[in-house]
């Protein structure tokens, strides 16, 4: 990766840790969500972006519905098998680094739709960084998830998309 080369050039770790810190600061404070909202959790996500809870305080104001322009995929709502193909493709089309939040019980584990058409959790098709329980989760839970993700980015934890083997 680019950072290794810079480190080799400079000979010491100082420049890269500074650079790394700047990059991490930039990434955590400008997470652009892709609200992949299918069901009820999407309405709660709309409430999170609205004024009383205001997600933009945490830098995540710019919701972009295109995978080319966003780096945080928030799956809010039930994913059924018909939709799973679409989700997989949208996730694949996002550029690195990318994080995934599974908002709600349906995205995390299928919730009480234990039946023929519902995916029992999006982690069957894409790697997930943070799961938010709830049906739907309170907006404070979503804000907690985003701040927890920011804390992890700060701590240097790589996104799940980079920690898995193969083409995921």
């Amino acid at each position: 990766m680019g950072l290794r080369e810079i480190e080799n050039l400079s000979g010491s770790g100082v420049l890269t840790t500074r650079l790394d810190a700047v990059l991490r600061w930039g990434r955590r404070n400008s997470l652009w969500p892709l609200p992949y909202g299918t069901a009820c959790c999407a309405i709660e996500f709309m409430a999170v972006v609205a004024s009383p809870f205001d997600l933009s305080r945490f830098g995540a104001e710019v919701v972009r519905f295109s995978p080319r322009q966003s780096d945080l995929l928030i799956v809010s709502g039930t994913i059924v098998h018909k939709q799973a193909v679409i989700l997989r493709r949208i996730y694949a089309q996002m550029a690195e680094p990318k994080w995934v939040i599974a908002m709600g019980a349906c995205a995390s584990a299928g919730a009480f739709y234990d039946n023929y058409c519902t995916l029992q959790g999006i982690d069957h098709v894409i790697p997930v960084d943070i799961y938010i329980p709830g049906c739907p989760p309170r907006p404070e839970a979503v804000l907690h998830a985003v701040t927890e993700l920011q804390r992890r980015i700060d701590a240097g934890v790589p996104p799940r998309s980079q920690r898995t083997e193969g083409s995921a």
Partner: protein, 563 residues
């Protein structure tokens, strides 16, 4: 239920048609497959039943009279007026097919596709008999009783919809065609996450639209057959999730009809307040999202603030902001809390200000008017043929509202008006919703003033849980509690249709009971399913930006559309 029109129909019944007695007072006619089309056409043309509410089927495999196996049900209603008629027909098992009625009613097109998808009953001469809710690689028919609920089937590639598009284009090959194919959705901001439309564009003008749904088909019907009648209530929350409590009330009203129970006066008044608050919540989301789609972003914040105010009141009442699950069969989960009145007064005080702000921003705004006036217009006759109900039908000028046509819970005692539009375009649909919010506020104010005292649950051992002091005190109450929870409420065996005027239109529940505590079938009549079936008609000939403005005005909630 009887009317002069139905009495005339009854007097002309011949051998192929007979009336079936129904334990719940519904009017049901049984028809042989050969006479089906004639009976339905006669009901439509000569007796005024021009609104085909729903087509569904019952798999009688586990019921006593199980040959022939499938019973196809047609639910009809006049567009102004409220009596309902069911026409039921059992196709033979060897040739599981009926003649289509999609040429008589456009709403039958998608309804029959769903019956084919879920039960496997074919419809001869149907223009496009394709799966609608399940994906294209699905094998089998999931609502049949012999399909295991947990048997999942994965999809590897989405449907490219070119078979339907080629038919619309008249078979022209893509290379020779002048126009561009564009796929909109399901992952698209204006498509609310779960709708897809493949459009054939000539410049900016839409020539053909092929919609696809089923991206949120979560198996409500099959899940409802798994647990008790009370277990279905949380599932109903998630149908139209913008106004969950309305779905609860619609379902509980149907089961109460089957049991012959009328909720207490207090419960009825509280239900009216919640119905109207739910209507306000739903219209707030619809108008906010629609205005965002046409570019008026500020209104989203104004309107969502009011939704938060309503959330606060409902959260204090039942613990949940969005998916309420507050209503029970026979009444409510518990009584109102101490600050409810002040909360509602706060809503009634602040909501007019927000609506006024929105009006001042958009009502005479040239850009907004150019975007929505005349866009996505539909005539009343076509809307009725497509099965429209609710604000979308009222915007076409038809004063169809169950709260006036078939009053329940005391709606005829309140002073309020039905809001009706003139042109049936996107502007009318938005404005009907804005004005309906004001009428709902009037009803809430009147209902809160007249709120009677008393219990909120009927004193009926079949449905109401005994108080906990009794349950821990004597054995009869303990057994009663145990039976209601473990075995469930047991409505008498039979088929019943009940409905309410939900925010999107007539939300109906067709429930089949086999006498046990588990429902045999719970079919939702989703208002926005029929509204969305008119989407090609509403968008063809217009421009692509008009499609976005139109879609927002229809208020398509995928939870209700796909169930």
């Amino acid at each position: 239920m009887s009317s002069p029109s139905l009495d005339r129909f009854r007097s002309r019944l011949a051998g192929a048609v007979r009336e079936e007695p129904n334990p719940f007072g519904d009017t049901v006619f049984r028809v042989e497959p050969s006479g089906l089309r004639d009976v339905l056409r006669s009901l439509r043309d000569e007796h005024g039943f021009d609104l085909l509410l729903d087509v569904t089927a019952v798999d009688r495999l586990e019921l006593p009279d199980s040959k022939p196996r499938f019973d196809v049900v047609y639910i009809l209603r006049p567009s102004v007026g409220s009596e309902r008629v069911r026409v039921q027909c059992r196709p033979p098992d060897e040739d599981l097919a009926l003649e289509t009625v999609s040429d008589l009613w456009k709403s039958a097109n998608w309804a029959e596709r769903e019956v084919y998808d879920q039960y496997g009953v074919r419809f001869r001469n149907h223009p496009n008999l394709k799966r609608i809710l399940n994906h294209k690689d699905f094998v089998g028919h999931p609502l049949r009783k012999d399909y295991d609920i947990k048997k999942q089937q994965w999809l590897s590639e989405p449907d490219d919809l070119m078979d339907e598009m080629r038919k619309l284009r008249g078979g022209a090959e893509e290379e020779e065609s002048e126009s561009v194919l564009l796929n909109i959705g399901p992952s698209h901001p204006a498509m609310h996450g779960a709708l897809r439309a493949l459009v054939d564009l000539e410049g900016e003008t839409v020539r053909h639209t092929v919609p696809e749904i089923g991206y949120l088909h979560r198996g409500f019907e099959k899940s409802a057959e798994k647990g008790t009648y009370t277990h279905v209530i949380p599932f109903t929350d998630r149908l139209n999730y913008c106004s969950s409590v309305m779905n609860n009330i619609g379902y509980c009203r149907t089961i109460e009809k089957m049991l012959g129970i009328e909720p207490t006066a207090r419960a009825q008044t509280i239900r009216v307040v919640l119905l109207e608050l739910g209507r306000i919540m739903d219209h707030l989301v619809c108008v906010a999202a629609n205005l965002v789609d046409v570019g008026a972003l500020t209104n989203y914040w104004y309107l969502f603030n009011e939704r938060e105010r309503i959330y606060d009141v409902i959260e204090a009442l039942c613990g949940a902001r969005l998916t309420h699950c507050y209503v029970r069969i026979g009444g409510l989960a518990h009584d109102l809390h101490a600050g409810f009145e002040e909360g509602v007064e706060g809503i009634l005080r602040e909501l007019p200000k927000a609506l006024g702000d929105v009006e001042r921003l958009v009502a005479r705004n040239r850009i907004f008017l150019d975007r929505v006036v005349g866009v996505g217009a539909i005539s009343a006759e076509e809307a009725i043929s497509h099965g429209f109900t609710g604000p979308c039908l009222r915007a076409c000028g038809v004063p169809n509202d169950l709260r006036k046509d078939e009053p329940y819970y005391g709606y005829d005692g309140y002073d309020w008006n039905v809001i009706v539009g003139t042109r049936g375009d996107a502007y009318d649909r938005i404005w009907v919703r804005m004005e309906e919010m004001r009428e709902s506020m009037r009803i809430v104010a009147q209902a809160m003033k007249k709120m009677p005292g008393g219990p909120v649950n009927v004193d009926d051992k079949r449905v109401s849980l005994p108080p906990k002091t009794e349950v821990y005190g004597n054995i009869e109450a303990l057994m009663n509690h145990f039976m209601i929870i473990m075995e469930g409420i047991k409505p008498p065996a039979g088929e019943c249709y009940g409905s309410i005027e939900a925010a999107n239109g007539e939300l109906g529940f067709f429930v089949v009971s086999d006498g046990t505590g588990k429902p045999y079938k719970v079919k939702v009549r989703p208002p926005c399913f029929y509204v969305f079936s008119a989407f090609p008609r509403l968008t063809e000939g217009g421009m692509i930006q008009d499609m976005i403005a139109t879609l927002g005005s229809l208020n398509i909630i995928a939870g209700e559309l796909d169930r």
